[in-house]
């Protein structure tokens, strides 16, 4: 892996953003998912939903235009796109559970090869934060997870069975890591793309679950 360099957060965000289609309604989790907003293809009308009741979030405003009543779920100041709408919390989650989200992009601690994922509580902590994750993941048409492929100790975050507390069963459709793009299929994980300089065998070695290599495996356009 001498020539291989793991993708950085922005490169992962750019790759997942390439999945979004014109006209989609999308919810973004905190961290890398939020960065995807910076990589929407020119001319695409992608509408962003914020769980606190904003449909049609726009980019961050200038400091002097910040309004405490207009912030994202991550408490970051935002603006509105033309035609944006506000709803209350119950309706905001009706958008999610009711199947109106074309995609949700979420972070995770672990993803299993049947599409279960864990992102709300570390096993060694008494208290975790569910927030909107369980409702959003159960309702979104597609759940894209962005995360590093392994933790700091090199342990795979892609697993056969979760060891972290479950957020939602069988919901993840695709995983975007710093070394690969992997689909979750009825047969399990399928390796679609590798980061520049990585081989499928490198990704297999870094994954603690069976990984089927796609016939058309390609290199991520980083």
């Amino acid at each position: 892996m001498s020539d291989s360099v793991r993708l950085d957060r922005n490169q992962i965000a750019k790759r997942v953003a390439a999945e979004l289609q014109d006209g989609w309604l999308v919810n973004l989790g905190l961290g890398i998912p939020t960065l995807a907003v910076n990589f929407i293809p020119e001319g695409y009308d992608v509408i962003f939903h914020s769980e606190n009741g904003i449909i049609g979030m726009g980019p961050q405003p200038a400091d002097e235009d910040v309004d405490t009543d207009l912030m994202s779920a991550g408490k970051g100041p935002v603006t509105l796109i033309p035609g944006a709408a506000f709803v209350h919390h119950a309706d905001s989650f009706a958008v999610a559970r009711g199947g109106r989200l074309d995609a949700a992009i979420l972070g995770a601690y672990q993803v299993s090869d049947n599409g279960d994922f864990a992102n709300w509580r570390l096993p060694n902590r008494h208290v975790g934060g569910i927030g909107g994750a369980m409702d959003i993941a159960v309702g979104a048409q597609q759940v894209f997870v962005t995360m590093s492929h392994t933790d700091k100790d090199g342990t795979s975050k892609l697993v056969e069975n979760l060891t972290y507390p479950l957020t939602t069963r069988a919901c993840v459709t695709k995983v975007f890591t710093d070394i690969a793009v992997i689909s979750v299929t009825p047969e399990g994980f399928v390796l679609d793309e590798v980061a520049p300089g990585f081989t499928p065998d490198d990704v297999i070695a870094a994954t603690a679950a069976r990984l089927i290599v796609s016939d058309s495996v390609s290199t991520i356009a980083a």
């Binding site: 914020s50 769980e51 209350h88 919390h89 569910i130 369980m134 507390p165 479950l166």
Partner: protein, 232 residues
């Protein structure tokens, strides 16, 4: 006409008692009824069950109630945050109980209470820790958790505009859980930035109908506690 307006915070809060379940609006810095919360702290109320999205940031909202020893239990979706350790400290010391609920189900359990329903069938959290001890029900091959309605004794709601019938308007994203909380409590107390005359609100634009509001207090618009950025 029913007299819903009160002139003091004390009068606004005269129906709250120790041990009540209190629904408190607000998300982030927005839509938090800070003046009513201050009033609860000053009353020295104890053993309240507080329902909010989170356990509070910094010393705002629920965190302020926790700091003042008013809280016996928190029902929320997000009980920890980088900005506030007070909940975690009290919880780990066994001084406050927690019921963690997915955010959308928290709102929907309150909407059910406000609509006179006993509960809802929820797809969120099936198979997870939060399903432990809950009954399930299957419809068309899909498994749901039976989640009880979540009524409040009291709701503390923040609105932007109120009229003498208690009709409410909320600016930008400040409504968050306030409208469902107003519906879900036996007694709903509102603090509003501004009062307008009867007939000044366009009936087509009213966001919470006054039938869900029992009492209101006019605070004037104020900057959220702990916010040091731009504000107008």
């Amino acid at each position: 006409m029913k007299q819903k307006k009160v002139e003091t915070i004390e009068d606004a809060l005269d129906r709250i008692s120790d041990g009540d379940t209190v629904l408190v609006g607000g998300f982030g810095f927005s839509g938090i009824p800070e003046k009513l919360i201050d009033g609860v702290c000053e009353r020295g109320l104890r053993d309240l069950t507080i329902v909010n999205n989170s356990s509070g940031a910094q010393k705002l909202g629920v965190a302020k109630l926790l700091h003042n020893g008013c809280v016996g239990k928190v029902i929320c979706s997000f009980p920890w945050g980088r900005e506030s350790k007070i909940f975690t400290d009290l919880y780990e010391a066994g001084k406050v109980d927690l019921e963690i609920v997915p955010q959308g189900i928290l709102a929907e359990r309150m909407r059910a209470a406000g609509a006179g329903l006993g509960g809802i069938l929820s797809p969120s959290g099936v198979g997870t820790e939060i399903a432990e001890g809950k009954s399930t029900h299957e419809i068309d091959g899909v498994e749901y958790l039976i989640e009880a309605a979540l009524p409040g004794d009291i709701a503390l709601v923040k609105a932007t505009k109120v009229d003498p019938r208690g009709n409410l308007i909320y600016r930008l994203a400040s409504q968050n859980m306030n409208p469902v909380m107003a519906m879900a409590a036996k007694y709903t107390i509102v603090e509003a930035d501004e009062e307008v005359a009867l007939g000044d609100l366009d009936p087509e634009h009213i966001m919470t109908a006054g039938v869900f509001v029992d009492r209101y207090y006019v605070t004037g618009r104020y900057k959220p506690d702990g916010w040091d950025g731009a504000w107008s």
